[in-house]
Symmetry: D3
Subunit: 251 residues, 6 copies
């Protein structure tokens, strides 16, 4: 009864303020089998230590991409949604009252996408959600990472030694678990006041490339892109932009 199955290709048979809201106006297909790209949401804020609410992030990203997407990239002229089969596979059924159970649910959700051969494109959600996303994707070998953020998120603990999982610790845990290769990791745009030397220590000691904001402006956009390509190399790489997490398989 609607044109939802056409995805963003036919933007006007249904006006943009109508219809069921999905990422990029893609069809909603709960089963990732047969997809090239599985777009999904991680409505999670269990790891937030300050102002929460990122559980509402996926719904808001759906609304924004549903209302404003057009199918062709202005510079390359390519139509990404014609190059691959993509769908909105829904949200991880987060457990709002248990952090570890939520991490397990996220891991199971992405394991299923990975097993189906699809590349996940996820909207969060707080950054701790990256850890259980990485687990199934990197179970065979560690992945590299291109990480855009103000903070490194490689702290050890925040409240005490008992509590090692929050929005500041996902990438130290990932290195410790052997699923993130720090030598193929680049952290871009790090800035702002710090708790102390430990803000950068773990990243630098383990060989991550850290581009602080001052170096970013010295290198310029093209220089940073070149450096990211050099560090990440040809292996599979996780791309994380703030709370909007993305994975693009490169080989």
């Amino acid at each position: 009864m609607t044109d939802q199955d056409e995805g963003p290709r036919n933007i006007f048979s249904m006006p943009r303020f109508g219809g069921i809201v999905t990422f990029f106006r893609l069809p909603h297909l709960p089963d990732p089998e047969g997809l090239d790209v599985a777009v999904c949401g991680v409505p999670f804020d269990g790891g937030i230590t300050n102002r929460n609410g990122t559980r509402h992030g996926p719904r808001q990203v759906r609304e924004m991409t549903h209302n404003h997407i057009r199918p062709v990239h202005p510079t390359t002229g390519r139509s990404p949604f014609e190059l691959c089969r993509a769908a909105d596979v829904g949200d991880v059924p987060i457990n709002p009252i248990d952090l570890q159970d939520s991490l397990e649910r996220i891991e199971a959700f992405f394991a299923r996408i990975h097993a189906a051969g699809a590349v996940p494109l996820a909207a969060g959600g707080d950054h701790l959600g990256s850890l259980p996303i990485l687990r199934p994707l990197a179970k065979d070998r560690p992945v590299g990472m291109v990480h855009f953020d103000a903070h490194t998120d490689t702290y050890d603990t925040v409240f005490s030694d008992k509590f090692k999982y929050d929005n500041g610790t996902p990438f130290r845990r990932a290195v410790e678990e052997g699923i993130l290769d720090p030598k193929r990791t680049i952290q871009i745009g790090i800035r702002g006041p710090r708790f102390g030397e430990e803000d950068l220590a773990f990243s630098l000691d383990n060989g991550m490339r850290v581009i602080e904001i001052d170096e970013y402006f010295e290198l310029g956009n093209q220089g940073v892109i070149a450096e990211a390509r050099r560090v990440a190399g040809d292996g599979p790489t996780y791309i994380s932009a703030m709370c909007s997490m993305m994975m693009m398989k490169k080989s």
Copy 2:
């Protein structure tokens, strides 16, 4: 991958802030065939003469009913979603730049629901949208109406004789087209400043029962319900609450 197909019966396998948003958390089934109740949206504000934006109404009603519904009625103890097969059949593909084409699209959308044997439950949208909803439902005989509103919406014209279709005229048009039976129509809660005597004249001259707000408080809730039952009688009746339009077939 989600529990969407369970509808509001299992509210917690997916937290309420997760998942694709549908009316009452019902499954999204674009085809009304086989449904008892087809819940749908009419994202329309083509007839609005003051502040527009009701095109965003259905999306907002989806969000509210998705987040807050629980399946059992507290007074009757009944579970409406177990008594009938209901689904979210999506939105009418409104034409935002042509009023008459939009009215035709609304009419076609509800004709298909009616042909499938389902009862429509629609969220608007401006009140002019009631006119093309009534057309297919009343093509065999006029229907009655229980109408909650501040205004009668039985004006003849607003801007000039050329423009007879706006948010103040749907029910005069419906009477003229023979699809609304004024003698089985009750208008409840009429109040506020008026343009003049014509605000009530058409309704009263054609035999509608008008309960202005002062009489409403005199009769009380039970008295008004009794009067509505008396006026509407046993025939098929359209129920309209402000901009949220509902149809419940009674016979």
Copy 3:
């Protein structure tokens, strides 16, 4: 340098838009020793299963009571802040990434207030916070409760048998722990759609008095107050109004 120590008695030596913000403009005294009433905040939303954000509740209640309080009650003519020594003792240091640790921190905070001989007056925070507040207050004998709410919050579990602590379960847990006396408990204003029969079953089966919203309007304010006094009797009683929790020792 400011008049903060005068509390609400001298409202104008500092205009209401100036100064450090405390509950009711009371002095901030972190130590409850010597106080009659210890006003405090429980910035907690670890038990929320829908829209979170109640962690910001205490700060907002401080702002509202700071800006708008005047010291004399209009009906009784009494000045509560002259009848007892009250202070703002600060907030419970909630652990935002661990629910059970947060419950322990709340319990310890209120145990200290109770040991000092002060009556706590707490602003939440989600309703699960009532459970660890009750524990130290009722360690010698169960307390009664006057509870204003739309829901009974006496569910057993929500997500599964593994997760028994959320914003819908505090008062079943409290009865199970022997710290809440259901026969001295009254729940007032229960209303709205339900998950099923279990919404009221535990409360009624254990002897709580439940006044649903229809009965509330039948009894009227004075009738409800009389019924609350009859049920709660003379023993120590916990008063809970939605998310704003209050304790007033009666004997």
Copy 4:
């Protein structure tokens, strides 16, 4: 080029979201000469001791009345704008950096309206603005008052003896100046926490009739209206509803 001069009589030759915004869609006539009613704004918050911003009140009242007025009263069937000649005469040119100069500007503005023989209908603005409005209107004899408010606004001073003019003192000043007759004054709806006994003392000691909120509900709307008519009698009477001040000459 617009229909502004027709006022609220022809609401649709210009849609309600168009045109220059005036009170009730009336014509803007800076000169009150020849008017029966001069509608005007007092964009003043110089007397506010808490949260300011009432300087924006008149503009907001213009917007609301411009967008929503219809010319006929639903109960009486009368068209007030056909019974008298009314216009929007603009705003008092308040001095935002000097309170006393603002009071003089308000007084001069209303003196001119009064001299023209028009009855002022003013939108404020903080309540201190009532004092300089009353001065020219009552220069020949004191006026009565029907005053709807939560507070009596008959305090003597707030910050110290030096500062006697703020939003809590206008009607004590008016009685002291002999321009308000306390025996023909009724204060309706007084409620909320108080600073102390002086909140009501001046009003009661000087013979004002004070209807606190509990008595209001006992008397009911008709009883309060009768009492207001009895107290105010037949003389000229100032009507003040919160911050929206109105004057209606009765004889």
Copy 5:
């Protein structure tokens, strides 16, 4: 009674938060006769295909320019309101329920301004409003255009061949009608995702100069200004900045 007639020259005899709101604090003169510049509003969103509400644009632009204008340009030192006679001539009386009637009303409004010899300066409103503005201004010969926007607005149709007038088509219609000279048209700042090749095709095929955002940054502000002067030349030229449309006659 106010200083409205002085316009922006005397900004402080009435504080900026007071008085009837007009564009730039100019006097409201409904008749354009004798004016050099006629500032006006086009409260129109009949051509909007996504989120509407631009009908409220003129009122908001009035508020912003009323509150913040000062009469002298900081770089040139010139006082534009002393160089010419300008006034707020009000809004086009848009027909909110008929698109073509609205276009005719806009055309008639600007024909009258043009006949009076005034240059219009218009605040919209959606971009389709530019088409009926251009018609009277270009009835003798086509005009050039300097157009700042993200999109070219030279599409042919959006919903189907039946509906050729919306917010994406005004300048194709204008070229077809012979009122816009594409060879004297420059479109500046074009950017963002596209529907396909047709986004630029009509503009380029007809000889418009299109400066996409990447070229904009290469040329710099001075380079773009020079290119705009070269393309537009000496003839009469329409200047359009997003939804804020302006016309400045150059010869």
Copy 6:
């Protein structure tokens, strides 16, 4: 009971959404004696001639700095709160209904801070507040100033000769009073429409260095910093950034 006394050093023993709100999470010490830096608020908008509300500025700055501060500067690696003893000394008790009394209260408040040997760091509040802050700080000799703003705030009068104290005049008054040395004053970022030549005349005639926005972009950040150091020299200097006023003693 809280860790407030530790200030920003231990950010997580209390989560950032909990606790009494102070500037930078510093302890609240009303007495400036013994402090190196006294952080305080000036909740003042008595000098505002347009949209008021800056009286709420200090409370909002407290909230922002409380929630987001971390103790170490990312570029220098220094921990300012370990280099000096700082505290939140509260707000000036502004008189909201008398401008001159407010100026005296501000002066007395900063005189006490100055007498205690502490450097004040103040959050406003409207810019007129800078005048009474400067008076005690400069009573022995005039100070220099580094001033970031769109306007020079060196006007003589705004409404008339009678009213010389508002948000546009503080620095002319300061020069006239001999407490601000114009030759050691630099005004950075001046821009926007002007009332006339007098906007810059006083500043330039008295030897202030004015960097308008165009020159700012020519010089670049490092060039502007060097020029500021050159102009201000080694003497005591007041630093003012918009409404957020700061003083840093340099010798």
